[in-house]
Structures are given as structure tokens and as C-alpha cells.
């Protein structure tokens, strides 16, 4: 190099001007890749939005890309889906089911998480084993032995109480808070398909099949592990002094939970709430099993559009747009909160 300050072309292209900056070539490459992925993300969404304004002939006479340029958008599909087709009822179902199950699972889950963080538990291993054995025995007795379930379960409960009072005291091995927590969270590993058949039968027995109640209860259970997993870290982060102080001042544990702990983890709770809300909104498999016409949710309605004439894309698109629009709006504006929930879960593991 002739002059120490003069840079060759290659250097100018590949070496940054300063430590904070990027050199030209890597910079262009970075933007190119990021813009490409932006396109990958947005194009499908754009296409479904555009298609919802097409008519049958627009779709079938070849791909058209730009409204007003190569085809005339119209609201026919929207009008049909919203006014003539029965779309609003499943939509209403979805809203109710997602909202109720989210509130329930966050409430139940955060209560449990709080207790597991703050209160020591010792559950005898033998008691759990005995409980599961009796549960299995009841199932076998009812299914194979033909014994009516109320009798079987009462007998089992009596046996369980007797066991706790006598033999159960001799056993030492106990599970602590971490084990209980792990058990709760590990339920998420279980594929829902394993549990859904008995749940189906159970609701059939209770005559609750195809009702919102069945879906709300099931969704609450399915999302519970996530709530426990996320909120336990939020609660563990509260200084213990605050809660003890409230206790000395005369608050019960429940009062401490609702007036001190919950307000303090507000932002974390919002993150959890949003995440669970989206999961409940998107849920498909359980709704497929547990709902039919009455409690049908949006994902099931959408997937059922596969008619014999082939999917009618313009109608489909309307459904998809109204189904995914709320979550995209939430995602765009509250991205930070939802990402926080994801991060807590992933980083703490």
C-alpha cells in the first residue's frame, strides 16, 4: 500500500469506516436478506387480503396481483360471508372461548405459580402413588366391571382417606415445590391427541359436547402449564419483604396475592395473557374434536370450507382475513409484550 491513509477499493468495500459502522458489501447483503425475508413474511398476507376482494372470475382467469391495476376489487365476498353466511356465530364463539379460557387459565395458573414460589409443600410420594392406583382402579372397575361411577369413586375416596390416615404416615419420601412445578409444566409435553379422546367421551357423558363450556374448560387446562411456567419467574422476582410486610400489616395470603403480588407483576401478566389469548384463538385440534355446529370456532370453520367444488378462495380469504386480523393487530402493537413472555419462557427454561 502506497499511502497509509488511502484505502484500496477492496478495503473500502469490505472494511468498515469506523467500529460502529458496517462496510458497504456486508451492509448491502444484510439489507438484501432482511428485505427478502420481509417479503416472505408479508407476501402471503398481502395475497390473502387481495384475494378477499376478488370475484370468482378474477381468481380463475389467472393470477392478478394489484387491485385497481389488473383487476377491479369488489366487496361481494365480504358481503356474502358477513351477511348471508353464518360466519358471525363461530366468530363470536371464538371470542368467548378465547377470552374466558385465557382469563381462567391465567387466574388459576398464576395462583398456583404464586403458591409454589412462596409456600413450601411436602406431598408424600406414597400418597400420589396411592391416588393414581385408585384412579386407575376406578377406571377399570367402571369400564370393565360395570360398577356405577359414583359408587366406585366414593369407595376410592374413602380408601384414599384411610390410607392417608394410617399407612401413609409411615412413608418419608415426599415431593417438593420443584417437583410439583415440573409436573405441571411437563403436561405441555403431552400431545393433546392423547388426552382428547377421553375428554371427548367425558363431555359426551356430561352432555356438554359441542358447547362453549367444554372448549373453555379444555383450553384452560391446555394453557395452564404455560401460565405456571411464565408467571412463576415474575412472582419469584418480587422482593419477599413486600409480601411479608403486608402480612404483618394484617393481610391474608389471598389478599397479599391480589393487592400486592398481582399488581407488581402486571406487565408480565399482560405478556402471559396475550400469549395465551393467541394460543387459544388459534387452537384447532381440540375444537375439531369437541365442537360441531353450535360451538364451532373460527379455525374449524375455516378448515371446513374445503367443499366438493374445491375451495372458494375469495370466500376463504375473507374468513382468513377476519380470523388473523385481530392477532396481527395485537402482534404489531403489542409485539414487545408478547415477545417478553416468549423470552422469559425460553431463557429461563
Amino acid at each position: 500500500m502506497s499511502a497509509p491513509n488511502a484505502k484500496t477499493l477492496m478495503q473500502r468495500l469490505f472494511e468498515p469506516k469506523s467500529v460502529e459502522a458496517q462496510a458497504l458489501v456486508p451492509k448491502i447483503a444484510t439489507y438484501a436478506v432482511l428485505l427478502f425475508w420481509t417479503l416472505v413474511v408479508l407476501f402471503p398476507l398481502y395475497w390473502v387480503l387481495v384475494t378477499s376482494f376478488k370475484s370468482e372470475s378474477d381468481v380463475f382467469s389467472g393470477p392478478f396481483y394489484l387491485p385497481f391495476v389488473d383487476f377491479q376489487p369488489n366487496l361481494d365476498a365480504w358481503r356474502f360471508m358477513l351477511l348471508e353466511n353464518n360466519t358471525l356465530w363461530p366468530y363470536f364463539n371464538s371470542v368467548i372461548v378465547a377470552a374466558c379460557s385465557t382469563v381462567l387459565s391465567v387466574l388459576i395458573g398464576s395462583l398456583a405459580a404464586y403458591a409454589l414460589v412462596r409456600i413450601q409443600f411436602h406431598v408424600k410420594l406414597a400418597a400420589i402413588g396411592c391416588f393414581l392406583l385408585l384412579l386407575a382402579a376406578v377406571v377399570v372397575a367402571v369400564a370393565a366391571g360395570g360398577i356405577p361411577w359414583p359408587i366406585a369413586s366414593i369407595v376410592a375416596i374413602v380408601l384414599f382417606v384411610i390410607f392417608l390416615g394410617t399407612l401413609g404416615r409411615r412413608f418419608r419420601l415426599a415431593v417438593g415445590n420443584n417437583d410439583i412445578e415440573f409436573w405441571m409444566i411437563s403436561n405441555r409435553i403431552m400431545p393433546p391427541i392423547v388426552a382428547v379422546l377421553p375428554i371427548y367421551v367425558m363431555f359426551q357423558h356430561l352432555r356438554l359436547l359441542d358447547t362453549q363450556v367444554a372448549l373453555i374448560a379444555t383450553y384452560t387446562a391446555v394453557n395452564l402449564p404455560i401460565v405456571v411456567w411464565l408467571t412463576r419467574d415474575f412472582f419469584a422476582g418480587i422482593p419477599l419483604d413486600l409480601e411479608e410486610s403486608a402480612e404483618i400489616d394484617g393481610a391474608s395470603k389471598f389478599r397479599v396475592f391480589f393487592t400486592i403480588a398481582l399488581p407488581l407483576v402486571r406487565s408480565g401478566l399482560v405478556a402471559t395473557l396475550l400469549l395465551v389469548l393467541i394460543l387459544a384463538w388459534n387452537e384447532y385440534l381440540l375444537a375439531l374434536f369437541l365442537s360441531n355446529a353450535n360451538a364451532q370456532t373460527m379455525p374449524v370453520l375455516v378448515s371446513a370450507q374445503n367443499t366438493t367444488r374445491g375451495p372458494q378462495w375469495w370466500y376463504m380469504s375473507v374468513l382468513i382475513v377476519i380470523m388473523i386480523a385481530p392477532v396481527i393487530v395485537i402482534a404489531t402493537f403489542l409485539q414487545k409484550h408478547i415477545a417478553r413472555g416468549l423470552l422469559i419462557g425460553a431463557v429461563k427454561g
Binding site: 420481509t38 389467472g62 398456583a112 412462596r118 415477545a339 416468549l342 425460553a346
Partner: protein, 376 residues
């Protein structure tokens, strides 16, 4: 001191105090009950269903206990083609590959027994190794010999290839996004969106996009002379579409978490390395990667858990076709349920539970804990 007595009095106080003393149990109880009712209890019933034959009978249904027959049928009998695949005889090269895998597993077990033997650890590793060899055999005997893979292999393809691609792309985007570039937050928001879009919706949108005649890419495929070809008629292109949809949806998850991991990495370490003379790639390999590996491993674990449950995409995109080629195990179980084969459906569910648990626990024990060993 007048106030002090206001806190409660008489019998209400006794009741309140009782509630207060047991508040821990009361707080945990709802969660335990819900999980018992919707996870443990169904799991037990499912086990019973998997061991029975279900038949409609006048006024309801009849369950007949048939032992392990459902599993036998799926693993060795008439349904083997569906779950494990149609096997053709192994050729010489397949035998070599299979024996290589067996040798590898035996070596791994031997090394474990030599270095730090524990009975519990050995049994665990034996299970992992057996599972790995079995899966490898299914892959070799079905895909390797030109046979047809079953739903177990298909599910594992989705899990392994899908998660690998998602992790690669997600980490790459995260690294690019952590550079000092403009509009970073904008990219972040956009890249996040697919994660929360309803999977069923994604499946239909991808079907629209992949329409060879009327879709947006039709002119391109026509120009390439593929106008008459349909991706949905070939196993691998159909599987590719499912993985593409899955990748579109789940890459953001990896992206978001890894971006935070990269950004959280202590700046001074990077600066120290830079002063020591490390270049970009060296910094990534020696500083950044070890710092983010534990989080990376955890993220993959979470993805593995969820990936095993895949159903929305194959069901809507291809309905499991052509043939069985895109059918996941959850879909398999669902289809069995629709044909009133509740026993078979439950058995498939249980096999999925075992496969998923073995894979995830193995991954946790051998990869996640190892990646975390440098953490405080």
C-alpha cells in the same frame, strides 16, 4: 391499640384463619384439579382405550379388553405400513449404514459406562440408543429402499428437518438484525407476525400461493415448464410444502429469542475479543456462540415439544396425501378416531407420547444440560 381488634373477631376469625393457614393448598388446588381432570385422568382412560377394542353397540358402545393387540397391529401387524412404513429388503449399503448406527450407539454406551457409570443413566441411554437405532432402521427400510415411510417417520422428518431449518434461518436473521442497521425495530415487528397467525389460516394461504395454475407464482412455474406439474401429487414436494408453512410460522420464535440472546450478551466480552484481534467469524464462533448456545438449546427443546404435535398444516394443506406421505401422527390418530377405531387412535397417541417424550428428554439430558454447563 384500639384498631388491633378490628382485624377479625369470633367465629369469622376462626374460619378466616383456617383459610389463611391452608391458603397454599387452596391456591394450588384449582390448577391440580384442572390438570388431573384434563391431563392425568384422560391419560389413564386413554391407556385403557389403547388396550381395548371399541365397538358401537345398541344404546352406546362396548369396550373389550384386548391387551396389547392395538400396539401389535400398529408395530408388527396389519397397520404397520401406516405407522412405520412399508419396508423393502435392505441392500448391502443399508446394512452397513444400520450397523454403523448400532456401532456408534454401542460405543457411546461403552464410553458412558467407562467414564461415569450410573444404573439410572445407563438405562436412560439404552432407551435413547434403542429408539435412535429403531428410527434409523425405519428410515433406511422405507425411504432408503424406495418403500413408503409411515406417519412416525413423517412426523420425525417434520420435527428434525423443520426445526433445523427454522433454527438456522431464525439464528441467521437474528444475527443480521443485531448488526448496527437502520429500521431494526421495524424488521423485528414484521418478522414477529407469522408466529401468531392462526396455523389453519397459514395452511390455506400456502395452498393458495402454491396453486400452480392460478396462484401468484403461476407465471414463474409456467415459464419453467412446470405448468402441468402439481406439487401435491409428489411425496417430497408435498412434505416440502408442509415444512415451508411450518418454517414460515415458527422461524419468528427462534428469531425473537435468539435476537434477545445475542443482544444480551455482555458487550465487554465482544470488545475484549475485538481488541485481542478477533474477526467477525471468530467472535461469533468463540464468544457469541458459547454465550447463546444454552438459550439456543432451550429454544430448540421448546420447538421440539411443539413440533411433535403438528396437525393443522398437513390436514389442511394436503389432507395427509398423496397417500400417507404427509400424514403426521396426530393426524393419523385423528383419522383413526373418525373411522371409529378408538383403540387404534389411542394407541397411536400413546406411541406419539413415547416418541416425543424420549426425544425431548434425550435432547434435554444430552444437549441442553451440556450447553448450560458453563452457566452459573
Amino acid at each position: 391499640m384500639a384498631v388491633s381488634d378490628n382485624i377479625a373477631s369470633g367465629s369469622t376469625r376462626n374460619f378466616e384463619e383456617l383459610v389463611d393457614r391452608h391458603s397454599g393448598r387452596i391456591m394450588v388446588l384449582p390448577a391440580v384439579l384442572v390438570l388431573l381432570a384434563f391431563a392425568i385422568f384422560p391419560l389413564i382412560i386413554s391407556a385403557y382405550l389403547a388396550l381395548s377394542r371399541f365397538a358401537l353397540a345398541p344404546g352406546g358402545f362396548k369396550l373389550t379388553f384386548i391387551g396389547l393387540y392395538n400396539f401389535k397391529r400398529l408395530l408388527f401387524g396389519a397397520q404397520q405400513y401406516h405407522l412405520l412404513g412399508t419396508f423393502k429388503p435392505l441392500g448391502a449399503i443399508h446394512w452397513i449404514l444400520l450397523l454403523a448406527a448400532v456401532a456408534l450407539c454401542v460405543y457411546w454406551l461403552w464410553r458412558f459406562s467407562r467414564d461415569r457409570f450410573s444404573p439410572f443413566g445407563f438405562v436412560g441411554r439404552l432407551i435413547s440408543a434403542t429408539f435412535a437405532v429403531a428410527v434409523w432402521y425405519f428410515v433406511l427400510a422405507s425411504i432408503g429402499t424406495g418403500g413408503v415411510p409411515g406417519t412416525l417417520v413423517t412426523t420425525l422428518i417434520y420435527v428434525a428437518i423443520g426445526v433445523a431449518i427454522q433454527f438456522g434461518v431464525g439464528l441467521g436473521l437474528a444475527l443480521l438484525c443485531s448488526q448496527p442497521i437502520r429500521a431494526r425495530n421495524w424488521f423485528r415487528v414484521i418478522f414477529f407476525i407469522p408466529l401468531i397467525v392462526t396455523p389453519v389460516g397459514i395452511a390455506y394461504v400456502f395452498r393458495m400461493l402454491a396453486d400452480m395454475q392460478k396462484g401468484p407464482f403461476a407465471p414463474v412455474t409456467r415459464a419453467l415448464g412446470l405448468g402441468e406439474w402439481a406439487w401435491s401429487t409428489e411425496p417430497w414436494s408435498a412434505r416440502f410444502m408442509v415444512i415451508a408453512g411450518d418454517t414460515w410460522q415458527w422461524t419468528p420464535f427462534i428469531f425473537i429469542v435468539m435476537l434477545a440472546a445475542v443482544e444480551n450478551q455482555p458487550r465487554d466480552q465482544v470488545e475484549a475479543a475485538r481488541i485481542d484481534g478477533a474477526g467477525g467469524w471468530q467472535i461469533f464462533r468463540d464468544i457469541t456462540w458459547p454465550a447463546i448456545a444454552p438459550i439456543g438449546a432451550t429454544v430448540i427443546l421448546i420447538r421440539l415439544i411443539e413440533a411433535f404435535k403438528i396437525i393443522d398444516l398437513p390436514n389442511v394443506l394436503t389432507a395427509g396425501g398423496p397417500g400417507l406421505s404427509t400424514e403426521s401422527m396426530t393426524l393419523h390418530s385423528f383419522l383413526a378416531w373418525r373411522t371409529q377405531d378408538l383403540g387404534g387412535s389411542a394407541a397411536v397417541g400413546y406411541i406419539l407420547l413415547f416418541a416425543s417424550t424420549i426425544t425431548c428428554v434425550s435432547f434435554f439430558n444430552y444437549v441442553v444440560t451440556r450447553a448450560r454447563r458453563h452457566q452459573a
